[in-house]
């Protein structure tokens, strides 16, 4: 572990079950995240992304391996110490926003600050700043139920930043947002890294995130590999004609020895209903 790294995870393994039925959701993953770095972790569903994120976030104990977060080896800590680490050193952003419904926007943002010894004293000013920066001034007294998806996620980001943690863990933060709000959230996370010098680990399927990432890691079958310098392999969805990255595409099928990728399940179903009508529609201009 060097000072430039906020996170150093080494040889992380998470196995579920035992014997022949044992599944290694994360298999010998090592990962270093530098300060002020935005790292994207991509991979198909069930590849172990959330499991990896949970172990980094101190929510799940690895079967073996070590996680050192901001100089503290959290895998060596007992259970009662981990909530304090999470409150102080990690900001969580979830796909489902996960705001506390009984609290207003401002109270949600300030919630993690109440978990630290100083309470909300100093955090009030920072909450003001974040509310202003994230365009939530008009909504500060609103309840989550009255917010749009984009607003909810901005509140969640502000909540993740309130205690000024060195590391933000974002799990599919654009998964429940439309393209405009998804793009906005991506840019906010990018600004968090650029302006505040915090590190962000972003788990997503959203290819737009690649534009803001410093590094892209690919997790598949529990193993991690760097994908920064690999080129996209753009192909067209044979049904709707949308451009899809063959690398990250999850909806695929094989026909006569050829692999077809789709943007959505609906396109796959239409293809499977009458493939002859769509064959040959996959070429893409470089």
């Amino acid at each position: 572990m060097t000072d430039k790294n906020v996170l150093n995870a080494s040889h992380l393994v998470k196995a579920f079950g035992g014997g022949r039925t044992q599944v290694r959701a994360v298999d010998d993953v090592s990962l270093e995240i530098g300060r002020g770095e935005l790292v994207l972790i991509m991979g198909p569903s069930g590849s172990g992304k959330t499991t990896l994120l949970s172990m980094i976030g101190g929510l799940l104990r690895p079967t073996s391996g070590q996680v050192v977060l901001d100089g503290t080896e959290i895998t060596a800590l007992n259970e009662s110490s981990l909530p304090g680490i999470r409150a102080r050193s990690i900001g969580f952003v979830f796909q489902a926003f996960n705001l506390l419904e009984a609290l207003t926007v401002e109270e949600n943002i300030l919630f993690p600050s109440r978990l630290l010894p100083g309470g909300i004293g100093e955090a009030t000013g920072r909450a003001e700043y974040l509310i202003d920066q994230l365009g939530l001034s008009e909504r500060r007294r609103s309840r989550p139920a009255t917010l749009s998806g984009g607003e909810k996620q901005r509140v969640a980001i502000a909540r993740a930043l309130i205690n000024e943690p060195p590391l933000i863990l974002a799990d599919e933060p654009t998964g429940n947002l439309d393209s405009v709000n998804g793009q906005a959230v991506m840019m906010i996370l990018h600004d968090v890294v650029r302006d505040e010098g915090r590190s962000v680990i972003l788990v997503t399927h959203d290819p737009r995130a690649e534009d803001v990432a410093d590094r892209i890691l690919w997790l598949e079958d529990g193993r991690l590999r760097d994908r920064k310098n690999e080129q996209h392999v753009w192909v067209r969805d044979p049904v709707c004609g949308m451009r899809v990255d063959e690398w990250t595409a999850e909806i695929t099928t094989q026909l006569d020895g050829q692999r077809y990728v789709f943007c959505s399940q609906r396109c796959l179903e239409r293809f499977q209903a009458s493939p002859e009508g769509y064959l040959g529609n996959t070429e893409v201009q470089p």
Binding site: T50, S80, R86, N176
Partner: protein
């Protein structure tokens, strides 16, 4: 944290109010029951409390009136009257007996008064004479109304009939209504002459009753003398002791019911907010803090229930007394304190199951979309 806890608690005000009311009703039941016993105990001691005496003298080994038997020879009353410092010594004869009035039977105190000039008779009258003559009785007014009898009607004590000549006030209790007849009539009923149960002593001005008690016991053989205050305390304790086990049982039942209601309220709240608890845990809230919030919620609900029960009982008691004069209800401060202490136990017990539920909430579930 507390802001979140209380906002969550009050997020379903109707449900919360129902729970408080339900647990409050359980506590009210216990309070009401205690009030019945306390009221009845007060009525049982009403006679000894109102008797105009500084000292009660009785048979050795006896120390109260309720449910007890005391016999002294009449001449001892004369001896007591002669003790220096005694201003007056009035004998009464006393019997626990069934009295028949208007076709109903009442287990009663029958007090035989040394007439004429008795001062140990009824202390307040609704109608008629305060002092009965031979073949006459003064009966509690409430009992007379319940038995549909009045002045001039007859009542029967064991095998003898008596004419009602007076209706007394404050002498009725369900367990022991107090009837007054002459000592001579009661001696006749008991087929014993020249006996006394208690001697009511008045001290001369400036004489300390405690000193006089010692003097009476040393001057008159085989008697037990007690200052009136102590005699009343003993009688009240005896009366309350009779209901103690029933009250304890009712308290346990009411308390258990309240535990179930409070625990269910918190349990359902936690079940409803399981996901938010997972989020809170993921964000760094400790199990210990969440346990504390559960305990505080249980305390708040229980406290509110006790307040509800106290208020409800305070309103219900005068209403009950107004509509059911035969029942005397009395809410003692000690009952409220006792229910409050039971409430603390209820809150602790009601926190246990929800706390275990909290421990099982997995913060990882916050990642589920």
């Amino acid at each position: 944290m507390w802001q979140w806890t209380f906002k969550n608690m009050f997020s379903t005000p109707l449900g919360l109010a129902s729970s408080i009311a339900a647990a409050g009703c359980a506590f009210s039941l216990v309070m009401f029951f205690e009030a019945v016993f306390a009221g009845e105990a007060e009525q049982i001691v009403a006679y000894v409390e109102h008797a105009d005496a500084d000292i009660w003298v009785m048979q050795r080994g006896v120390s109260n009136m309720h449910m007890s038997t005391s016999y002294l020879s009449d001449w001892k009353a004369t001896q007591i009257a002669d003790v220096p410092g005694v201003a007056s010594a009035e004998p009464i004869l006393y019997l626990n007996s069934v009295v028949e009035a208007g076709g109903k039977q009442w287990f009663s105190y029958v007090v035989g008064l040394d007439v004429p000039g008795a001062t140990a008779g009824p202390w307040a009258m609704v109608a008629g004479k305060v002092e009965p003559g031979i073949g006459e009785a003064v009966v509690p007014d409430v009992l007379a109304r319940m038995s549909d009898v009045g002045l001039g009607d007859k009542i029967r004590i064991t095998d003898q009939n008596f004419e009602i000549v007076g209706l007394s006030d404050g002498t009725f209790s369900i367990a022991n209504p107090v009837f007054f007849i002459t000592k001579t009539d009661l001696e006749d009923i008991m087929t014993s002459l020249d006996i006394t149960s208690f001697v009511l002593v008045k001290a001369e001005p400036g004489v300390n009753p405690t000193d006089l008690v010692d003097r009476i016991e040393s001057n008159v053989e085989k008697v037990h003398a007690l200052p009136a205050k102590q005699f009343v305390i003993n009688d009240r304790q005896m009366a309350l002791q009779m209901g103690a086990e029933t009250i304890a049982l009712m308290t346990v039942i009411g308390g258990a019911l309240a535990v179930l209601l409070v625990a269910f309220t918190i349990y359902s709240q936690i079940t409803r907010q399981r996901r938010e608890l997972a989020i809170a845990k993921a964000l760094g809230v400790t199990n210990r803090t969440l346990y504390l919030t559960v305990a505080v919620q249980a305390c708040v609900i229980t406290l509110a229930s006790v307040v509800f029960a106290t208020g409800f009982t305070l309103i219900a008691i005068p209403l009950t007394n107004a509509f059911l004069p035969q029942v005397t209800l009395l809410l003692m401060p000690i009952s409220v304190v006792r229910i409050g202490l039971v409430g603390v136990l209820v809150a602790v017990a009601a926190s246990i199951i929800p706390a275990r539920q909290i421990a099982r909430v997995d913060p990882l579930s916050a990642f589920q979309a």
